[in-house]
Amino acid sequence: MPVFNQSRSRIIRLIFLATFIVITGQLFYLQVISKKYKQLADDNAILKKVVYPPRGIIFDRKHRPILNNTLTYDLMVTPNQAKGIDTLLFCQLMDIDTAEYRKRIVTAIIKNKAFRPSVFESSLSPQKFARIQENLWRFSNGFYIQERPIRLYTYNAAANILGYISEVDTNYLKKHKDDGYQSGDYAGWTGLEWSYEKSLMGQRGVQFLIKDNFNRIQGPYEKGAFDIKPVAGSNLHLSLDIELQEEGEKLMSNKVGSIVAIDPKTGGVLAMVSSPTYNPNYLTGSERTRHIRELMYNDPRLPLLNRGINATYSPGSTFKTLQALVGLHEGIITPTTQFSCPGAFYGCGSGHPMGCLDPGTFSLQMAITKSCNTYFANVMMRVINNPKFPDSDSSLRNWDRYMYAFGLGHKLGIDLPTEQKGHIPTPVEFDKLYGQDRWNFCNFRSVSIGQGEVNVTPLQVANEMAYIANKGWYYTPHMVDSIEGGDKLGVLEKFKTKIRPIDIPDSVFEYVHNGMQGVVDAGTGMGARIDGISICGKTGTVENYYKGTIKLNNHSFFCAFAPRENPKIAIMCVVENSGRFGGTYAAPIVSLMIEKYLRDTIAASRKPMEERMAGLNLIPAMMLQKMKTRDSLQQIRRDSIEQVRKAMTDTLQSEMIPDDDQPTGTKKNMPPNPADKKPAKPDMIKPDTNKKRNPLNRITRP
């Protein structure tokens, strides 16, 4: 026995020890030093699922929900579990054939693997949902119904104000890096959904879920100890009156233009109709993308445009009320100042007379009532040639000061996106156009009657009415009165401050009010009269040009506030290119709106007028033309598709039923009696095409 080898036991122990030390070292590195494995493990096994809180609900001024949440149901399938079900019955319930069933299953497997759930059909129709729900127990292995919240526009109105939500894109994600959005999320895209996104979205929650090696969910992680509960979005309360809005949309149907109504006491918008509009519920649910494309790019009526704040017009004669204010406050005219109109204004020579409706001599009140151009041309002449100021530049600057104070030429700051600021001519601009000191009142005269270089939005006109109604102040017009749970972001603060930019004495306003009441009582806007309500209004007939050269039909403007003593509504209406005068269309619409708002209903005696107004089709010829072109283009496309389909069905039929169809076909193709020829021809085509279309429809139905 070789005793000397005993020392080798120590070496063997050393080998053991060394190996274990190396392994321990590696363990120490993996478990103690390196941090990445913990992260990798979490990435492997923990799924951070964002839990979406319900989006805030939007209520109108009478606390009726106008933008709510509802659920839509998706039928989900896990292909490898969906075996041994009664496929035939299932297809019957789902209204599909087995080939389609197989196709969808295969698509699901390709897209999402067989062991993960995929959408079999999204946004089930109520009928299908009911049918499937009743029979779901038969298909419970493999199929289940998943609910998904969508927005519901309960009144089908105010689409452009409320706006819509849309899936966020990469740009949006880049811009809102820290707001916790991830791709696939929806965010407010336009309207109030956009401006109050932060309040409406609430706070997302996070749910930590455990998944296995195939990414299948196994349950909550640590029993939900780390989960963050979502906080529901805040509800918004609008000053909008949804019934008034609906009334307005009804009145404006088949017309282009808008109505903006403001509560002058608060600045809250009561209604903002933009016509043509769209059904906002088209932009929820499964067909959303197609609808949005159609509305945004293909519809020549531009239904997604909120004309209340996005369209600018020359204010026309409605501008005169403001000129009266300026004139009186500047002291260049008095209520008794008279100008006579011989039929036109010749102050700038006979070359370019400015027409007048009623020749005669007018005081201020009558000038407003009868909308006398000459009177206000003279007022403007005095404004520009005001002896208080050394030159036209400075007098125009002074005039601009008034205009800005009246809320023109700048964004009012309503809580809706993409508000236009309109335009008020400035001395700088005129200097550029004509040269310093090279222009005078005559270059400017059309502005005095609200034409030419001045542009306003309907909202600005309505706000101007509120300003006049309040006798010198206004609140920034706004949609949202209050946010439930408090205005944490302070966005409503600016709507709570009274704006009183220039101190104009009440008496000045009284004169203007007198004139405006005269408009409705005995002037150009008699169409707006309502018995028992003292309305102050002003008509406007706005000349406009396509690309500055082709004269189009006049816009019909009417703006008003009522009642005169205690104004509750300031309103303006524009009907684009309707021709005629401001009083013809806009005034009756405004009066109906005022009646609806102040009395809650339209009197029976005025119903016919309401119907007549709502029924009028005043779509401008140019738009009509574009629509027709578009329609015919679509018709061509439809026809060509029809041709293709027809070719296919022809083949199908000739292959499938050659013997059955032949005799009837030949019978039909036999020359009929000459007497029957005329009625027979369409008949002959009709049943034929129908017959061919039907089987195809069954196949292609989604």
């Binding site: 080998i15 053991f16 274990f20 392994i23 478990q31 494995y37 913990k38 492997n44 998944k211």
Partner: protein, 445 residues
């Protein structure tokens, strides 16, 4: 029981039994943690022999009964029948060829009724006995090369058969018996040469072949230069150096590529290259194209090791706790009840738990070496070293594999991995050792 038959407990090394019980306990817990799913009826499935942990528990009971029988056997029985057992072992190994059933790519498993067992596992016991028997023969002079070759033959014959069954991993275990031979007087130079060869093979994989050849040449030239005085006196040194250089370059240039291309199987080659984070250069053009088109750049084994490292690493210092390991519980680590069972421990109990398990193993090995050195009989000592060598190889390779230090070789972790055959094998090895050790006083030699 002890009171009825005091002879059994007499002289038994209780520390070994305790370590054995502890390890099996840890094993059962780990298997439970790896296979238990939320809501499984534990008691029912335990009684019905349905789940892996209950099966393992029954195997543990069988092992205890077997152990009892072994403890009741006379210690001379083992030395007397060692050769017969060895022949029996070779016989059942060969039996695999006609009767094997293919399970997970191996051809080394025999199915009998509902059970399947792996003769290659059992054979370790017989080889330990037979090798001990041969070395302890009075006529064996282990200083002679002939005896050394015979001893190596005894150890490697089953290995050769196992390789033929595509179980390279199990075959490698038999190389552990060189440790026994080393203890019994195998020249150190062989061990050193073995390590040097291993180093050379690793270098071949890691280093660019031409660079390595250059380095080897430089080393040879350097050696000649340094030893030029000695060489003048003794020409044989020069011949030896040149011979060594030729062998090294030969291995590096021809033997290793040959082995990779023709001897080892493709998945094994992949595993080896995965371990060193290299692309397998011996892929055929088709395979390369296949890899590129399917983008399956990660082979299965490297996925295993990656997931295993993630599981262990995510345990941090104290671990996630029993049944809380997300990686092992949700099947991220494949084979986690058997070969990768250490992950469950690493993830659930962290560095502390893993370290305790490692320490327990080290204690077991040291204890066995201590026991070996206190034997009076050469047979007992050799057998004890054989047991230590087998355990060591399994433990070291298995854990090193899970932490990414060794290539993936499918060998179980003693007492902890799930598997009836392996548990019984390791238990029998241990109980025979305990029996032999209990009788150490009775043998005079």
């Amino acid at each position: 029981m002890n009171q009825r038959n005091p002879a059994i407990s007499k002289g038994i090394d209780t520390s070994l039994i305790w370590i054995f019980l502890l390890l099996v306990g840890i094993g059962l817990t780990a298997i439970f943690a790896a296979t238990y799913k939320e809501g499984d009826p534990v008691v029912q499935s335990f009684l019905r022999f349905k789940t892996d942990y209950s099966k393992q528990f029954y195997f543990f009971l069988i092992a205890c009964v077997l152990g009892l029988f072994i403890l009741l056997t006379d210690s001379k029985f083992f030395s007397a029948t060692a050769n017969i057992w060895y022949v029996f072992g070779i016989f059942i190994l060969l039996l695999v060829f006609p009767f094997h059933s293919r399970v997970k790519g191996t051809e080394s498993i025999i199915r009998m009724g509902g059970f399947q067992f792996q003769p290659a596992e059992f054979c370790k016991v017989f080889v330990s006995l037979a090798l001990a028997k041969y070395l302890s023969r009075p006529e064996t002079d282990f200083t002679k090369t002939r005896s050394q070759i015979i001893a190596a033959g005894i150890a490697l014959l089953p290995a050769a058969i196992t390789i033929l069954q595509n179980e390279t991993g199990l075959a490698l275990v038999y190389f552990a018996f060189f440790l026994v031979m080393y203890r019994e007087g195998l020249p150190s130079i062989i061990l050193v040469l073995g390590f040097a060869m291993a180093a050379l093979v690793v270098a071949t994989i890691v280093v660019d072949p031409n660079t390595l050849a250059l380095v080897l040449t430089a080393l040879a030239v350097g050696a000649i230069y340094l030893l030029r005085r000695l060489i003048k006196r003794n020409r044989r040194i020069l011949t030896n150096i040149i011979l060594l250089w030729v062998i090294c370059v030969g291995i590096q240039r021809f033997a290793v590529p040959f082995a990779f291309q023709h001897v080892l199987q493709k998945h094994q080659v992949e595993r080896i290259f995965d371990l060193f984070g290299k692309d397998n250069p011996y892929r055929s053009a088709d395979e390369i194209a296949d890899v590129q088109t399917t983008k399956k750049n990660e082979s299965q084994s490297s996925y295993n090791v990656k997931q295993s490292k993630i599981a262990i690493g995510s345990g941090r210092i104290l671990g996630k706790g029993l049944l809380k390991g997300t990686q092992t519980r949700y099947d991220f680590v494949p084979e986690q009840r058997t070969d990768f069972i250490f992950c469950t421990v690493g993830e659930g109990f962290g560095f502390v738990g893993s370290f305790i398990l490692l320490a327990l193993y080290l204690l077991l090995l040291f204890r066995i070496v201590t026991i070996a050195e206190r034997q009076r009989s050469t047979f007992s000592r050799c057998y004890a070293y054989g047991v230590a060598a087998v355990y060591f190889f399994h433990i070291a390779i298995n854990i090193a594999m899970t932490v990414g230090l060794a290539p993936v070789i499918g060998i179980p972790l003693p007492f902890v991995s799930y598997g009836g055959t392996s548990l019984l094998t390791f238990s029998i090895l241990l109980f025979i050792l305990v029996r032999l050790d209990a009788d150490r006083q009775m043998v005079l030699r």
